[in-house]
Every structure is written in C-alpha cells, then in structure tokens.
Subunit: 455 residues, 2 copies
Amino acid sequence: MRVILLSGGSGKRLWPLSNDSRSKQFLKVLSDEDGQQESMVQRVWKQLKKNNLDNKSIIATGKSQVDMIKSQLDSDIPIVTEPYRRDTFPAIALAATYLYSIQGANLNDVVSVLPVDSFVENRFFDRVKSLEKAIIESDANIALMGVTPTFPSEKYGYIVPERPKSNEDKDYVYVNSFKEKPDKNTAKSLIENNALWNCGVFAFRLGYVIDMLEDKGLPINFEKLSQAYGLLPKNSFDYEVVEKAEKIVALSYEGDWKDLGTWNTLTEEMTNNFIGKGVMDQGVENTNVINELDIPITVLGINNAVVAASPDGILVTDKENSPKVKDYVTKINGRPMYEERRWGWYKVLDYTKYEEGNEVLTKRIGINAGENLSYQIHYKRSETWTVLKGTGEVIINNNRKYVAAGETIKVPLGTKHTIKAISEMEIIEVQTGSELIEEDIKRLYISWNEIMNNL
Amino acid sequence: MRVILLSGGSGKRLWPLSNDSRSKQFLKVLSDEDGQQESMVQRVWKQLKKNNLDNKSIIATGKSQVDMIKSQLDSDIPIVTEPYRRDTFPAIALAATYLYSIQGANLNDVVSVLPVDSFVENRFFDRVKSLEKAIIESDANIALMGVTPTFPSEKYGYIVPERPKSNEDKDYVYVNSFKEKPDKNTAKSLIENNALWNCGVFAFRLGYVIDMLEDKGLPINFEKLSQAYGLLPKNSFDYEVVEKAEKIVALSYEGDWKDLGTWNTLTEEMTNNFIGKGVMDQGVENTNVINELDIPITVLGINNAVVAASPDGILVTDKENSPKVKDYVTKINGRPMYEERRWGWYKVLDYTKYEEGNEVLTKRIGINAGENLSYQIHYKRSETWTVLKGTGEVIINNNRKYVAAGETIKVPLGTKHTIKAISEMEIIEVQTGSELIEEDIKRLYISWNEIMNNL
C-alpha cells in the first residue's frame, strides 16, 4: 500500500498562531508521551512510523509549506509540491503521477489518502491498512473510512450504507449515498441506519486515477502534469471522483477522531494549559494560554477562554466564540511575523513605513550550522546585518569574508549577497528601502559550491 | 497661594502599561473634550491652568519621572527632584525649601499640596483655592480637603469633625480625629456624623513646615536640604505632620473624586473602549482594550474584562480581579521595554542572553529634532546604529560625522559617543556585549556646545 498525506489549509481559524506558511498542522501545541510539545504533522508522522507506513508515504503540499515540513520531519521525506494551490483533486492526481512515473508504483497498488491533521488513535492506522483489503476483495473504485458517530453532529458529512446490508460477513459495507451537514433529526435517523462520519480518508487503486487522467487527455508523467497543472479541474476529489464513482465501499472505525481545526477543539487535546512566558491566577478554570511572544502574559479571573499570542497578533476569546476568529483574519492579515525555513527561521521585530515613503523592517534571523541563505540581489533595499551569535562566511559581489559575533556587514542595494553559518548563527537584519516586499528578491539559483567556484 | 503637585507611585496596579518610569499618571488613556487621548498628569495640569494656578505650581517627583513630566507638560515647569525616593514628608519638605529659598516665597504664603493623579471635576479647584481662606480665617496649622462620601467605603480614610459643630456660619469644620479604612458599619456611622473622605489634598502656611525643619536642626536652604535628604524622617506627611498638628480644619467638596489606581476604576473613566490596533467582536460588553503594541488584538466573547498590552507584557483580566495584578508584577518585572526621555523615546524590540554569556539588545530609538543623547562611554558593549529616518550628527571619540537615513554607524566598546538629531531621527540600535545594564554608561556631563569646542 502507498499513502498520500495531504497537507493543505491556511489555518485562519487558529489565528494568530497559524498563517499562510504555518497552518494549524505545524503548531507545536500537543504533547507526546514524554511531555514534549509536538505538532499535528509530527504526531501523524510518528503514528505512520509506528505502523510501518512511513516508508510508503509521500506528502502532497503547496510551496509555502515545504520548508516547514522539512524542518519538522525528516528532510528526506518525498514531497510532491503543487506548482500553485488549486484543490484536492489536482493535488491527489499530481501525487498519483509521482507514485507512478517517479517512484514506479504499480497500477494495481492501492493508494490511501490521509489529511495530515487527522487526530486519531493509533488503531486508526490498522483500519487504514484494511482499506487495501477492502478494495481488493470488493473490487470497488473507492474505499472510504467512516467514523462510527458518537452524537448526531450537524457539522460533518455522513456516508450512508446500502440497505438491506448485503454482505453480512464482510468487514466493509457498500455505500449508497452521502449527506453533508444534516439537521439534528436527519442526523439521528442517519445514525439509526448505520451511517458513518466521512473523515476524509479513502483508498483507490493507482490505476483508477491514472486512467482518469488519460481519459481527460492529461499527462500521466509527473513533470509534464506539473507543467500542465492549470488544466486539471479545480475541484475537490470528493466532487470530481467520489461522487461519480460506480462502486464505493466503506470501512468503519470506532474510536477517537477529531477535527482540531478551531481553538475550542484544539485546546481540548492540550495537556499543558499554559505554553510560554507568563502566569495564570490560581482560581482560573478551563483557560488555555499559548504565548509565542517574548513578553509575559498575566491572566486573572478569565475562565473558559483561549489567549493566544504570536508575532502576528493576540487573540483573547471565550472558547465558544473561538471559531469566529476566521471572520476577522482577513481584516487583520499582513506580513507573516515568524517563519521557519529550510535554512533556519526568522522573526520580524519591527516594521515601520514612514510618511516620506521609505520603509524599515527589522528581523532576527537564525541560520542553522552549515546552511546558507540563497545568493540574491535586492534592487529596492539595502540591508545591515549585525552578527549576534556564531561564525560564518559572507559573500558580497563574489568577495568572501569571515564574520563572527559583534561584527556588522552592510549589504548595499544591487549587490549579490549571501551568508552561510559555520556554527549556528543569529543575526539582526535591518532592511531599509522604498518597497520591502518578498518580490524584491532576485535569487541566483546556484549552490554554495558554485558560488565558491565563481569567486 | 502656592501649589505643590506630588508625582509619585510605581503604578504596579496598572501593569503592563505602567512601570518604574511610567507611573499610572502618565498613561494616555483618558480623553479630553476634543476626544484626544491624555494622561492624568496632563488632565490635572490643564485644570490648574483653567483655574490660574499653573503659574503658582511646582512639581515634586523622583529622578525617574523627570523626563516623562517634561515630555508630557511644558518643559519649563519648575520641578523639584528628590535625590532619591523616601516618602511624602521628605518630598513636601524639600519642595517647601524650594519655594522658600529658590522662588523666594513668603513664610505667610499658603501652600496647597495635591497628588498629581487626583481625578476630580473642575470645581474641585475652587475648593482648593478656598483652603487658603480657611487657613487664614481659622489660623489652623493644616486645612484638609474632605470629599463628601457617597457610600460607606471600607477602602478610604475618614476625616472626623468635632461635635457639636462649633462654627455653624463657617465654610470649614474643625477636625477631631481620623479613621483609616473602617468596616462598613463604622463607615456608616462615620458618615451619619458628617465625616469626610480624606483625598490627600491639604494646605498649610509655608512657615509652618519651614519652622518644623529648623526645629529639627535641618537646613531650610533647598540645595543644602537636597544634600542632607537622608536626614529627613522617612515618614508620610500624614504621620509626621498632620497627626501631630494641634489645630486642623477641613473643607468639604461635593462632587466626583476618584482614585484611578486600578484597571477597574480607570476603565470606568475611559470613553474609548478600544485604544490601539485590533478589533472587538460586536457582542462584547463592558470590555476595554488598551494596546500599545504594533500587532493587533482580537477580542471575541469576553465581557467585563480588561486587555492591556505593552512592550512589558500582556494582561488579560476580568474587571473585578484586576487589582490583583500587583501581586504578580514583582514576579514578572524586568527591564522597562518602553521609555520616554528628555530627548525622545526608545522601545526594546528584542533581548536575548545566549548560553555562551553574551547578550544582545535591539532597540528602536526616536530622537527629537535638535536633541542629543548624552556623551557617553560603555566598557562592556559595542553598539551598531542604523539610521531609519532623519539626519543628524554623530560624534565618536571627538570625530564628527553627518549621517542620514540608510547609513550604519559602529560604536566600538570604550569609545566616547553621542548622536544629535538635526531633523527628527529614528535609529535601530543593536547592543552586543557581556553585560547590558544601565550601569555600564559612563556619562560625560558636558553640553553639546562643549563637545563641539573640544573637537
């Protein structure tokens, strides 16, 4: 069996900790068995490992999440990068061509698809493995995982089985139809008729999707489909494939399954009710604080609430109202204030736009030992680097210089520059210029060795 | 009449907006008639002006507040600076010698003392003026202002008048005794007997305090008493003078008088319930947000609360519990993250202490046009200045250089240095060294002109 892990989402509902590059699955707010903080993606990857599925897995995601995934998981995990964000059908189709044309998977191989933010028990993965058997035995196009409902939720989609149940002796049921977000009474009667919650986990034979691409006249080679990505229908896999499939079966899973997509559901799974700097008064009940800032938070007399602070902003909400935060994010969205990258991380300390038109951006940047920023040029800004920690090499217009803590380097506008950490470095970068935007980077895509050879 | 305005207090109960240099009276959280934000000290000074008392007033305060007062009020207001903090008796005694030996006030002049954070109506100042008449008519040692109580408070001190009331036709009453923080029943019976709240406003003849100093063998000359400040008893004026006075009268004031010392009382007077960046959900009731950070705050579903954020920290509290914050401040106190100074202001952006022992502090500094930092030397740190805005002159080891936005200046350890703004400047300062403490400043107390002459 092969596994495609889907890592998407913009995580607006977990503002201010999540932003475009740091979706909810990357927030280190869960605790592992040893009490260490871990993220949802780290948790699910650990579970895949425990079930010997990690070496059969690839991750499908957008460009903005690649650095984050590499920084949180092993860096040699195969990642299929969508050229740009479209929907789940294009993402899964592209990943299927990767399995087929790059990894050489067999068209008969069963592929399971899992959202990277499924919060489930370990035995869920036994059921994932059973999806393969269900596909082979039933010869269905799609095998879905269905969670046995514990209450008549109005928020989930339901998988409705065929009646009368025609395969009493089988592990799976045949699927009759789907029902999205029913009202409470409908949900009750669906549950009485053995309907299951659709948790977004399903399996198919690789050939089923590859054939589909050929039928549409689309390439089945990964590189070619990447280039033709815009030709793929901008639809969800559910809409484009599942709803049109002739024969669908479903497996049931009885156990915990949660969508930790909002602060109220996420904090239920947090064992540590105060993460970060600060203090909570003794009497405070059922309140969670997640503080990623360097300044302390003091909470007095506020119960049933979430206080979350990051360089992007501060949220103070009671748990019930917490899902509303997504309505406000678009109004308050701006530059990401903290990002993890392939080479390390940066944090925005200060941004000011003066009336005169010039802008100033101050960052603290951490560069891991042995890593370097890309060789680049800016045309609208100069930069000043003050080395806080570590030693490294700076190259400016092909001139190489060793630098150490306490030194200052000036990077004038229009010069090629890069920095490489020998030991782990931290620097303060002050950007000053007329337009401090991500687009004002001309990256010279050459490796460190090539830079060295050109000196 | 003369007025001594007392500006004291560390403002722990209004953390995180107040700190040692920015006591509660300096927070710009009130609104003037035009809807502009103003501080308590600005409000009281405006009221003194309206009542033609400003030109008769001096301010007594500690060193740490002098820059703040000059920045918020006219810079030519006479300020009596206590050599160090002692108590209200030493502060008032020193101010009295200033009136006597520096301003040449007459020993018969009546002096009124007002805390700078009295939150009162304008007509309160008519009553302050009447204190003079009361002293002259009654020939009392002390005339106190008493607020007519509106409820049996257990938190205030009460002024108990003599009975039977012997001076029916007078504006003032004779004082029999004082009662601090009575229980509710005692408070009720005190009010039935015409007791008044002691609001810390009182008057005396200048000679009364000057004589007292002479009796104690202490100097009555301002400079000399400054030097002998440690010889003054470390007592409150109430304890050292009022309680021992033979003849005390009291004037009553009927009207608003509030001690805005805690978040719950202060926010009652704020007409603007959201100051700073961010958004509050529509349904939220009776919640105040004061945000001095550059990042937005979003508040959802939290009623009857205060959210206050500054570079020192973030407070989230329900109003009832807000006075408790003072219990936590000592635990979370650190370096002030924002200060206003004579020459401008600074804000700490980042502080890091590395395991290796070195420390890094990054500040954004604003220097007003025409102002300069003091000429100084550091022995344990070097500094890097990147000019963000404006033009100025930098002097390093007697070498003068003009600088403008975009330029970077390196200040090595052990060099004399200063910077003067020609137009309003902003710079990023990165301090790196082994011990980044305020004490590692050797200030060369010379003026800009003297520096110029030595070049």
